[in-house]
């Protein structure tokens, strides 16, 4: 595939270069770098969600399920069996992909709100299981990753900047996967499914298979983010890792505020929302309980009302990439040969 260097792609590359240099300009152990790392991690999460939510318009409110599967799989394999989280994250991705495939069998017949509710219920079920199956998961107490100093092979580092760069690399990977899917044959098929499923079927698109593929890839990438999150934060519990508001809805919100189905949308959304949320917390949480969430919520509602297509809607359309025209066809091509 020829990757044409559009203005958007240039900006995106500049963003990655600037982001990679950030640890040299801020306190490498400080709060700013932690927030930046979290913003990038949520950008990666939102981009993973964007594969189903944006390209196929399957609005999932249960992606916390895959996030938690990733976090638990890598952490438990590491704590119980001593398996490196680098391998654990691959196992978590595989498990989440399998869960997504199984979940898709009953849920793909559902449309819109019903699909969203079914996925939400799935994440809740996972939260309940993680809370009650204490012998496996440790229960409500959660999971703590012991601090072992610098062990790169075990995904353990002293410096925040190491985690930061890993997370930036993860974001780059997820963006690459999104870009390849969006611009490949499956991208056209997913958009067709999003815009008119019946017409897509009649035009020869295997809508079930296309949605299944997207769901499995999206879930696997979300699980990788979960494993990385666990290593980065050293601690999580069932209620935070399978959180509806904190993970499932936040992933979706970031992608929607940034621009659904666009490559840059989740990055812009995360860079806008995560620092905003942190600022609201820093300035308002001491004033009144819940005030910061209220203000954050109000800003979200305003953002959606002002521009439902997200911040990316302000991007000039002529700069966007369209399918280029083919060369003028030779004379009269025979169309009606059909599948002999």
């Amino acid at each position: 595939m020829r990757a044409k260097l559009t203005p958007g792609l240039v900006l995106l590359l500049l963003f990655f270069v600037a982001a990679a240099l950030l640890p040299f300009y801020v306190d490498p152990r400080g709060h700013v770098l932690r927030i930046a790392a979290m913003a990038l991690l949520f950008a990666a999460l939102a981009q993973s969600w964007n594969i189903v939510g944006g390209l196929a318009n399957q609005v999932s409110l249960g992606h916390a399920a895959f996030f938690g599967i990733g976090a638990y799989t890598s952490s438990l394999l590491y704590l119980r069996l001593g398996i490196s989280p680098w391998l654990g994250l691959v196992a978590g991705a595989a498990l989440a992909g399998l869960a997504a495939a199984l979940l898709s069998l009953p849920t793909f017949r559902l449309k819109g709100h019903y699909f969203a509710l079914a996925t939400l219920a799935f994440a809740e079920v996972m939260r309940v299981i993680a809370n009650s199956w204490a012998s496996l998961t440790g229960g409500p107490v959660g999971v703590s990753i012991p601090f072992v100093g610098s062990q790169p092979l075990n995904f353990a580092f002293r410096a925040v900047s190491s985690y930061y760069w890993i997370i930036l690399g993860l974001l780059a990977l997820v963006c690459l996967v999104f870009g390849l899917l969006a611009r490949g044959a499956i991208g056209y098929r997913l958009r067709a499914v999003r815009e008119n499923e019946a017409a897509a079927e009649v035009a020869g698109v295997d809508t079930f298979r296309v949605k299944l593929t997207a769901s499995v890839i999206s879930a696997a990438l979300t699980a990788v983010c979960g494993s990385v999150f666990a290593q980065f934060t050293f601690f999580f519990d069932p209620d935070s890792i399978f959180s509806l508001a904190g993970v499932s809805v936040r992933m979706a919100m970031i992608a929607i505020v940034g621009g659904l189905g666009t490559l840059a949308g989740p990055i812009i959304g995360a860079l806008f929302l995560i620092p905003l949320e942190e600022t609201a917390n820093a300035f308002l949480s001491s004033k009144a309980a819940g005030l910061s969430q209220l203000v954050f919520g109000a800003i979200l509602i305003a953002a959606i009302l002002i521009q439902p297509r997200g911040i990316m809607a302000y991007w000039p359309k002529r700069w966007s990439r369209r399918a280029p025209s083919p060369a003028a066809p030779r004379a009269e091509p025979a169309l009606a040969k059909g599948g002999q």
């Binding site: 958009r191 019946a198 009649v202 035009a203 295997d206 059909g338």
Partner: protein, 262 residues
Amino acid sequence: MNAHTPVLEAQAIAVTFGGLKAVDGISFTLKAGEIVGLIGPNGAGKTTLFNALVGLQRLTSGQVLLGGDKVSGLKPHRVAGKGMTKTFQNAALFPDMSVLENVLTAALLRHDLASARERAGAVLHRLGLGAIAQTDVADLTFPQKALVEMARALATEPKVLLLDEVMAALTPSEMDEVMAVIRSLRDEGLTFLVVEHHMRAIMALCDRLLVVNFGRLIAQGTPAEVANDPVVIEAYLGQGAAHGAATGAATGSTTVAGGAHA
């Protein structure tokens, strides 16, 4: 496929919604290279029949054979893969895509991305839509949308193409152009089943007509035979009207009668 096998065979197909028999045991065959019209009053079951043939609507009973293979029970994309697809009456294009991307998506059924793009360009060129390939479908006129529908269907490279009112909003000269394209595609071996309310187009284009009313096939034959069939006239004008029309009595339905015979 044996030369004597009909390309499409509908065997007593029925579709029931609750107690309503939308399609009530219709059987017919299409031979390769035929252009057959499907006519009947509004609500007669034409679109339901189309949906049943391509797999969008589950059959209550009966079966559909395409080139001798059973296709009823298959999903629409499998039916398209076997060589039958349809256009949508109210242009169900992918609204956020360009014209080319709409057609390209269908061409992916039999081609990889690069050659699907070539095929899509060729189909658009064939239908005279080359100039609007990069246009957003949201910016198209209704007749253009109908033609892009047809282009998208053709891009699946069907053996049998079901056209649901693609000429509804066309001017007479545009209609002539589309009919010329349909005939030339037929000459290349494509078979058509056409729903159209323009009787002029139906009469000029079709080799044969099927007439449905209340979900049943009430008549079939050449356009001339069907136009003079009292059963058909009655279906269009209502009970007793055939007799009334024949005796020249005023029925008050002259516009409908004019439509049926124009």
